[in-house]
Structure formats: C-alpha cells, structure tokens
C-alpha cells in the first residue's frame, strides 16, 4: 500500500472516529515559524489562536508547535497535526508554502490555511493582510509631522511585502509633503534587535525625525525615545508601552477575526478554498490609536484616509504613479491590480536608491 493511501485511510478512520467521539469538537492546528514569545509576528498569530479559544471555548481544541523550521520539519509537523485529527491547520510563514501544498495533497479532508503565499488547492486557502494600507496611514502622518523632511525606513529583506510598504508610505507622505525624502536601510535579517537599534540610530543621526520599521522589535522605539523629537510607529503589535511618544500609532497584525471566521466555516461545513487579502476594512490590519503627540488636523486626515481605505472608496495605489525610472505605471485614476502588488519589485518615482538585487 502506498503511504499516501495509508495516510489518507488513517486520517479518514481517525476523522470518522473523532466525528463519532466528539462531533462538536473542532481541532485547529497552528504552525509557527518563531517562538510565541517573539513579541511580533508569531506572537500576533498566537493571539489569533487565543481568540479562537475565547470565541468557541470547549467546542474547539487548538494545538500549536512553535519554532518550526521551514522545509521538512514543517511538513512533518503539519502531517503530525493532520494525523492527530486536526480539521483545520493554519501555516503561518511564507516558507511553509510548498510543505503545505504537499501535506494537503495527502489529507484531502483536512483544511489548510497558508499565510502570505500564492499556491492554493481545493483544501488550501491563502490569506494575507494588506499592510500597505496601514503604511499609507503612517505615510500621511509621517509626511505631515517630519520637520527635517527625512523619513527613515528600516527594511528586513528586499521582498515584495516590504517594498510595497515602502512605496505606499512614500506615496502618501509625498502627497502631503512634496519635499519629503526617504532614507532606506536594509537590515538583512528577520530578527536581530541589536541591529535594528543600530539601524534606527543611524537613521536618526542622519537627520530622520520619523522612523518607520518593517522589523518586529521595539529597539527602534527605544532608540527614538533616547534621541528625543523623533516619532515612530509600532509594528506587528501595538507597542503602546512607547506611547504617546515616540510611538504615535501602529500597524497591528490582527488575525483574530479571520481565524474565528474560518474556524466557524469549518464547523458549519461551509469552508471553501479562497484567496483572502484583507486590509483595514475587514479588520485584519489594525491601526493602533493615534496618540495626542499628533496634531489634531493630522490625526483627522489620517483617520479620514483610514476610513476611505476601509470602505473601499480609495485604493492606496491610485494613479497617476510612475515607476522609479520615470516610466508610467498607473494612469490617472487607475488602481493597481493585486498581481502587480503581490510581486512588487520596483520603487515608485521619487524614492532614491536601488533595491538590492
């Protein structure tokens, strides 16, 4: 007997067994790339898991494995969860994409949800958040508040997700402040708080009085506070302990509504494979409270932008927009399609410097 059939039959046998034993108990698995104590990416996914527990109580059982390396380890952990009777499995890192697809093939009755990827199947959905909408709000505040007209931006790796954020922030900063200039530093690490602290300090020393970060630690917040007169935004989690200043607002990864909804769908038997890319409107991207350090009119403008993004009346990438080399990207009034955004590998016109290639 082939392993695939063996696995499937085992899973089916188990599925039947669990269905018989606890028809009302839905098992949801979470695979995390980092520790739940990272205070950022994985921490927020785990908050989403806790929201599922809080919502459904005894009707669900959640399990998770943290620090799962991308590759064969991830594949094994997913298989293990499926074997142990999970009905729904959230795989929360881009690098889990191929493993998720592989495991999903073996367990057609288990539903998989892969974060930030682009490969789907009948039992694999993908979901991601339009963090660039939050970046637009940040850009508006940044452009208004900078006095030196220099905004510092700490990037992790030059990947579409990060580039999208930079472009969105820049476009909206420029809109309210034509003289604004972005200084971008690539840390080339997902996680190294000390290096993030250095990056923030360097940007501040070079005149930046607003720091945007696409890394998860609070190191830049502390650096900004030490420098004084610099504002920052929380990333991934609210980082409200640094408010009201330097942290004036934040982008919060809020997976809870999505996790609750998808769990509900599995319970109701209405789950279907989809590609979800939600933003502020659906609540997946949270904008942390804009503090009193922000002047009232700026706050108002930011909230207005947030509202227009939320109700869909405005798209963060609306033409006329040119690419960095001056060629036309979007004509007047045209909005970007999701495909271009998903694979974004260019800066918009006005940003200086090259994307490391």
């Amino acid at each position: 007997m082939k392993l695939t059939t063996l696995l499937t039959s085992a899973a089916m046998a188990l599925g039947l067994a669990t269905a018989a034993v606890a028809a009302d108990k839905t098992k949801v698995g979470f695979v995390y790339v980092g520790p739940v104590g990272d205070g950022g990416w994985t921490y927020e996914h785990d908050q989403g898991r806790k929201a599922v527990v809080a919502e459904f109580g005894d009707a669900v059982e959640t399990v998770y494995v943290e620090n799962v390396a991308e590759g064969p380890d991830a594949e094994r952990v997913m298989t293990q969860m499926a074997l142990e009777g999970a009905d729904l499995i959230f795989t929360t890192s881009f690098g889990y994409m191929d493993p998720t697809i592989n495991v999903a093939k073996k367990f057609p009755n288990v539903k998989f949800e892969h974060a930030t990827g682009y490969k789907r199947a009948d039992n694999v959905s993908t979901y991601s958040a339009r963090f660039y909408e939050g970046r637009a709000v940040q850009g508006t505040i940044a452009g208004n508040m900078t006095e030196s007209n220099i905004v510092g931006y700490i990037g992790s790796y030059p990947i579409p997700e990060v580039i999208r954020g930079i472009n969105s922030a820049y476009i909206h900063a420029k809109k309210v402040n034509p003289d604004v200039q972005f200084k971008i530093v690539w840390a080339f690490t997902w996680f190294d708080p000390a290096k993030e602290a250095d990056a923030a300090k360097v940007l501040i020393e070079q005149g930046a009085d607003v720091i945007l970060q696409h890394t998860d630690s609070t190191a830049p917040q502390a650096a900004a506070q030490a420098a004084g007169n610099v504002i920052t935004f929380g990333q991934a989690s609210d980082m409200s302990e640094y408010g009201p200043s330097p942290r004036v607002s934040s982008i919060i990864d809020n997976w809870a509504p999505y996790y609750v909804a998808r769990t509900q769908a599995v319970m109701d038997g209405t789950w279907a494979s989809t590609d979800t890319w939600d933003g502020i409107g659906a609540g997946m991207v949270g904008i942390g409270e804009i503090s009193d350090a922000v002047p009232a009119d700026v706050k108002e403008a930011a909230l207005a932008l947030k509202a227009s993004l939320a109700d869909g009346s405005y798209h963060a990438f609306t033409g006329p927009l040119n690419k960095q080399d001056g060629s036309v990207w979007l004509a007047d009034g045209e909005t970007s399609d999701d495909g271009t955004l998903a694979g974004m590998n260019f800066f918009v016109e006005g940003i200086e410097g090259d994307i490391p290639q």
């Binding site: 399990v63 998770y64 094994r76």
Partner: protein
C-alpha cells in the same frame, strides 16, 4: 572524600553503559522539568521517546526519523574522524550550506533539461562545495598554523551570508513572484532526490549515511590511515615517530568531513527541503557535533546517537502539539542529555574512589 583515579585503559563496560545512564538521568531530570511546567512528566517522556517509534502513527514517524537523522549521522561521521585526531572542525554548518548551494546551482544550471547524469553531477558538486569550504581552515592550518576551530566557525557566518545572497539573487526562482528562494527541486525530476521506495524515507542521503558509517568503521579498524588518526589523537608525539605526516592528516580529515557535510547539504536541498532559501540551514552542522560526542566518536555509536537525536526532535514536536510543551523546554531537555553524557563520561576514563582526605 571523593577522588578520581585515571584508569590505565578506558573502561569498556562503562563506555557502553554511560549513554544509557545518561538517557535515563535525562528522562528523570527532564521529567522534573516538565512537572515544574505543569505537564504530566510520564506522559511527556512517553510522548517523546515512545510515540515516534511505536505510537499510533509510527508508520509515518519512523521514515521521518531517517530523514531527520541521516544528515546528522553523515556530518557527524566526518567530524568524528577529525575529532579523533584532535582536529576540530566546528564549521560543518558552513560546509553543509556550501554543499547545498553548489549542488543546487549545478542542478539548476541544467533546468529544465532532463537527463540521468544531472543528479550524479549535483552530488559531486555538493561534495566539492563542502570540501572546498573545509579546505580553507585546513590549508590555513597547514600553511600558517592558524586555529581551525575559529576559522571554520567564522566561515559558517560567511556561508550564511552567501546563502542569503543565493536566495535573493543568483539562485532566485525567476518564476517566484519576487519572493526569495530558488526553484523547488522536488518538481524538477532529474534533480529530485526522491524516496527510493515511496514513503520509506529512504532517500540517497540515508544510503550515503549508512555507507559512511561502514566506511568509517573499516577505516578506523582495518586501515593504516585509521590507525594514524587514532594514534595522532591519543599520542601526537608517538604518531610523529610512527611517520604520520600531520599536514596530510589535517588536509584529509578536514577534507573528508567537509565533503560529507557538503553531501548532507546537497541531499537535503534536493530532497526533503527542496529549495535554497534564506533559512535553509537549521543547525544540523552544530547538532552533528553533539551527535559525534553522544556516539563517543564511534561509527556505530554515531548511528545510534543520530537516531536518538532525531527521536528527541520528532518526539519533541509531538509533545509540543499534543501536550502544549514550549519548544524551549525541549531545547533544555536536549541540553540536559548532552550534559549528562559529557558528565558521565568521567566514569569511562576515571575510577571514582572514596578515600579519607589527603591534600590534593
């Protein structure tokens, strides 16, 4: 007062018994740790050690043990040869990365052309990549007398940066929508290191690991070079008189361990992992050092130790999922295992005697 007396010969009985005692001690203290964390200690230990081997889903976990253990054994065998001779290559992680990069690059150079010889060429590329990376500390040591521990360790970090570079630039998948990482070799038939029997976990890396164990056993017990290696480690001066050429030995030992680590990287990237990515390396090179010591630098011991280590990883993940143990607790558990093993090694080489005090 407790005193230690060096045994004239390492005790054979203790050398066999200490790993068992160490595992038992780890279970005991690990159990205490799990109890402190509010988990059922017996259940936790049972989940880690029993579940993957004989549990309900062992038909799946047993092949996984091979997949997880093979790179550890392959690398550890290579390291043990050097360690026996007192040559400390602790940069296997870097050699593993370089083997993967070179091997994958060879395969991807042919894409999408299919031919039987592509995989063998990749294997050669992987071995050469690891070998070349290990030759840097080897040549520097022979030529300038630099410390190979530090040079090989430094090269790990250099290799990690090259890996990032490969994922983001020169090996990046042109059809990957701009995301970092190479093409997936699992979907490129000529380059895919698939299970030889589907679902068995037996890929070429497992075969290579088993061959390496046999090879090392014969080398150490039946071959002049093996004798020289052991002699150099135990009595460097005597080795010199016996005509051992230390430079040659350094080049050979580091070269072999590098090539084996490179092979492990190649088999991993072309099989279970599938692609070059920024986080491709997961510490096999460092864990293999632990495996080498756990196995007492003996080929058969290393084979068992690799299996044991793989067991704690797989069992640990099951315990996380089923019992909610944090992954840090598993890490401490593994640290304990190594700790007890090293500490109890004392009994192999020394006799503990109780004696009335005498100023030492």
């Amino acid at each position: 007062m407790i005193r230690l007396e060096k045994r004239p010969q390492p005790s054979r009985a203790w050398s066999l018994a200490t790993p068992l005692v160490a595992v038992l001690a780890t279970m005991l203290f690990g159990g205490v740790l799990f109890a402190v964390l509010g988990k059922d200690p017996v259940e936790a230990i049972r989940t880690i050690f029993w579940e993957p081997l004989f549990g309900e889903f062992s038909f799946y976990y047993r092949p996984q043990l091979l997949i997880k253990g093979a790179p550890l054994v392959l690398i550890a065998i290579g390291l043990s040869l050097g360690f026996k001779a007192g040559i400390w290559n602790i940069g296997a992680e870097g050699q593993y990365i370089m083997g993967a990069i070179v091997g994958a690059a060879v395969g991807l150079a042919f894409y999408p052309y299919e031919a039987w010889y592509i995989f063998p060429l990749m294997v050669i590329g992987g071995a050469l990549g690891g070998w070349a990376w290990a030759m840097i500390p080897a040549v520097l040591k022979v030529r300038f007398g630099t410390n190979e521990i530090l040079v090989s360790l430094m090269l790990v970090y250099v290799a990690e940066q090259l890996l990032a570079s490969a994922s983001l630039r020169f090996l990046k998948n042109p059809e990957g929508f701009g995301f970092p990482g190479s093409r997936n070799l699992q979907s490129y038939e000529s380059a895919f290191n698939a299970d030889l029997i589907e679902g068995s976990g037996m890929h070429w890396g497992v075969v290579a690991a088993l061959i390496a164990v046999i090879f090392a056993y014969i080398l150490l017990n039946r071959h002049m070079l093996g004798f020289h290696i052991r002699l150099t480690g135990e009595a460097p001066r005597a080795a010199r008189f016996a005509g051992v050429n230390p430079s040659r030995l350094i080049l050979l030992c580091l070269g072999m361990s590098g090539a084996l680590a490179g092979l492990a990287g190649l088999f991993e990237v072309s099989g279970p992992a599938g692609q070059i990515s920024i986080d491709f390396n997961v510490g096999y090179g460092f864990t293999a050092i632990i495996v080498a010591f756990l196995g007492r630098l003996h080929p058969v011991g290393i084979l068992l130790a690799g299996g044991l280590m793989a067991l704690t990883y797989i069992g640990g993940d099951i315990a996380q999922s089923n019992l909610g143990l944090p992954s840090a607790a598993i890490q401490v558990f593994q640290g304990m295992l190594l700790f007890f093993l090293l500490a109890l090694d004392l009994l192999t080489n020394y006799r503990v005697t109780l004696r009335t005090s005498e100023v030492a």
